[in-house]
């Protein structure tokens, strides 16, 4: 298997799917590499800065037989397009009684940790999770990035691909063949018996690092990556918690109504899983503030390994 970066893996996913199916087209204000060279100016389109029309345009073209990939770039920028996401994309299939499919993929980057301040450091996936009707992927490794994005492009529904910026340069092995990771399947990234840590995106890597460190103290951490936020693989997470009896969730979004809240809620509302819980589930999230610019404050605002360790120790008490 080749070692490639997260960013390369995503590019490969798009290129392979464009080769595989000529109905796949892509629009955005910028692209890595020069996809127009291979795929032409019709299928790869540079656009004005008009995220709202691009978002609806992707949906409209999807309704007419194409499989558009709309690149919002930073998640931040697509808030101007929120109507087309919330009022159109998520509802259109159901409210029209299933008359048509809408195979559109929306891509954007997420996350802080790079000194980009409030507007350019957001991780608001839970806002999309709340809106019934979208599928959502959030990969944490090059291999998952490629496999999930390929599944997203092949899916017949609007899928939002959240791509964590801090992972861009991370390298990892990616299978050579047509590598597809199904939507809705979590992965146990490391198996353990003492505590379940559910990490998201960058924090999967951080949780694994913490697990390594705690192994030296004979604390056996199970690390789970949901990989897909919608549909969420509830059963894999619950099964892990039933085994370990302890749950820590790590994410860089602020806690309130976050993916971490959802994971906590769906774990505890299952009677058997609740019964198996030996300690109060803990969320390790960002401080409830817009991400500040200064490195000292940004570090204080975002979760770090120490915070993960502290939460694990709390649930082990």
């Amino acid at each position: 298997m080749r070692e490639i970066t997260f960013a390369q893996a995503l590019d490969e996913a798009v290129a392979e799917e464009m080769r595989r199916d000529e109905r796949v087209i892509t629009v955005g204000t910028d692209f890595t590499g020069n996809p127009q060279k291979e795929f032409g100016e019709k299928r790869v389109r540079f656009t004005p800065i008009s995220e709202s029309v691009l978002t609806g345009m992707g949906l409209g073209a999807a309704a007419c037989g194409y499989r558009p990939i709309v690149n919002w770039r930073m998640v931040t920028f697509c808030f101007v397009a929120m109507d087309q996401i919330v009022n159109q994309a998520s509802k259109i299939r159901y409210m029209f009684g299933g008359q048509a499919d809408f195979p559109v993929t929306y891509r954007c980057t997420t996350g802080g940790g790079m000194g980009l301040a409030a507007q350019h450091s957001q991780s608001p996936y839970s806002m999309w999770m709340h809106v019934a009707g979208l599928k959502i992927i959030l990969p944490s490794s090059p291999s998952d990035a490629k496999g999930l994005l390929k599944s997203a492009i092949r899916d017949n529904n609007p899928v939002v691909s959240f791509e964590c910026s801090r992972l861009n340069a991370v390298t990892g092995a990616v299978p050579d063949s047509d590598h597809v990771v199904p939507l809705g399947v979590a992965e146990v990234k490391r198996s353990g018996k003492d505590v379940t840590v559910v990490g998201l995106a960058f924090y999967v890597q951080e949780a694994l690092a913490v697990a390594d460190a705690l192994a030296k103290e004979n604390i056996c951490v199970e690390v789970i990556d949901p990989r897909t936020l919608v549909p969420l693989d509830v059963e894999t997470i619950r099964a892990s918690v039933r085994k370990t009896g302890r749950l820590v969730i790590v994410d860089e979004a602020p806690p309130m109504c976050s993916a971490a809240s959802e994971i906590a809620a769906m774990v505890v509302e299952d009677a058997a899983t609740f019964k198996a819980l030996k300690a109060a589930p803990q969320r390790v999230c960002a401080a409830p503030v817009p991400v500040p610019y200064s490195p000292t404050l940004e570090q204080a605002a975002l979760p770090d390994r120490a915070a993960i360790v502290a939460a694990i120790r709390r649930v082990l008490q």
């Binding site: 656009t47 029309v53 609806g56 345009m57 007419c64 029209f96 299933g98």
Partner: protein, 318 residues
């Protein structure tokens, strides 16, 4: 007799009678939610859709019944949708504001002012990529012109020379707000010039004029020469929307009277009679036929069952 003209008249009558009936049925509680009557504006949808095939796509608005019928949707299934029944176009999930019929190229009504503009632009992109000379038409009101999506859609369509006609149905009001509250000018076709596309205004109560003027814009789009902004000046006869009871009228009585005197259906009838393409008695027959058709639609809707609550999760994903 000119079959095309008779078809125009028939569609306009069908729209009018459909919406008159829908208001009554809303009043009696057979229809739920909100009804936005299209009465008075029939010439716009009918005149434009006369130039379209099923392979051409349209997007519509909250005031969508007219666009549906003009594009060829079946009034039976429309009525069943308004009744919230399984044989409705959306299996009862959509209601008045979300009727779509993809089979005839009607990509849906839309409860969001301006919300259909991006979708239509996407349909136009698909048509351009298909390269078969099909086009998209986007209906929207004068109110929607104040939304950013209007501007974004025109801009990108102009830059990409998309095969699309933007049809602004300027009925001079957005809900209770007269056009002067919304815009510097009542002539909304002026917006075209900044995008380097033709901006054309037409009497939206004259179906033949609408058909003729829009044909130019549509042919232009089919030839790959890009979008047109077509403003159809018209007026709605009734209130903006009705739920349980009709809301009070807030517009000047003389303004309403003046526009009613310019009834698009009466105008076409007069014209066709004067051309000897139609007789009074044929008009009467046609109206009776339309009413029978609508009675059947209501019977169809009544006979259709309500959706099974167990199906609430069906149709979410494809």
């Amino acid at each position: 007799m000119n079959i095309d003209h008779i078809t125009l008249l028939h569609k306009m009558m069908l729209i009018r009678e459909f919406d008159e009936l829908a208001l009554k049925l809303r009043g009696s509680g057979k229809i739920y939610g909100t009804v936005h009557p299209y009465v008075g504006q029939e010439a716009v949808a009918v005149g434009i859709c006369a130039n379209l095939t099923n392979a051409d796509r349209v997007t519509s608005t909250h005031r969508g019944h007219g666009h549906c019928i003009a594009k060829g949707a079946d009034v039976k299934r429309m009525m069943a949708e308004l009744f919230g029944r399984v044989d409705g176009y959306c299996k009862g999930k959509g209601g008045s504001m979300h009727i779509a019929d993809f089979a005839v190229g009607m990509l849906g009504a839309n409860g969001i002012v301006g919300g259909g503009l991006p979708l239509a632009t996407g349909a136009a992109l698909a048509a351009q990529l298909d390269g078969k000379g099909n086009i998209a038409v986007c209906f929207f009101g004068d109110g929607a012109v104040a939304e950013g999506e209007f501007h974004e859609a025109l801009n990108i369509s102009a830059v990409w020379r998309l095969p699309i006609v933007f049809v602004c149905e300027n009925n001079h009001y957005a809900a209770n707000n007269a056009v002067a509250i919304q815009h510097f000018t009542a002539d909304l076709a002026v917006h075209a010039s900044a995008y380097g596309i033709p901006g054309v205004a037409v009497d939206g109560n004259d179906v033949l004029a609408v058909r003729e003027t829009s044909r130019g814009a549509i042919e232009r789009a089919r030839r790959g020469e890009g979008p047109t902004l077509l403003e159809c000046k018209t007026y709605r006869w009734y209130f903006h929307a009705m739920r349980a009871t009709p809301p009070p009228e807030t517009r000047p009585a003389d303004e309403i009277a003046a526009w009613k005197a310019r009834d698009p259906i009466a105008k076409l009838i007069t014209e066709l009679i004067s051309r000897r393409e139609l007789t009074e008695s044929e008009v009467g027959t046609m109206l009776r036929e339309v009413r029978t058709q609508l009675d059947e639609a209501v019977a169809f809707a009544e006979a259709s069952p309500f959706p099974d609550p167990k199906d609430v999760l069906v149709d979410m994903y494809g």
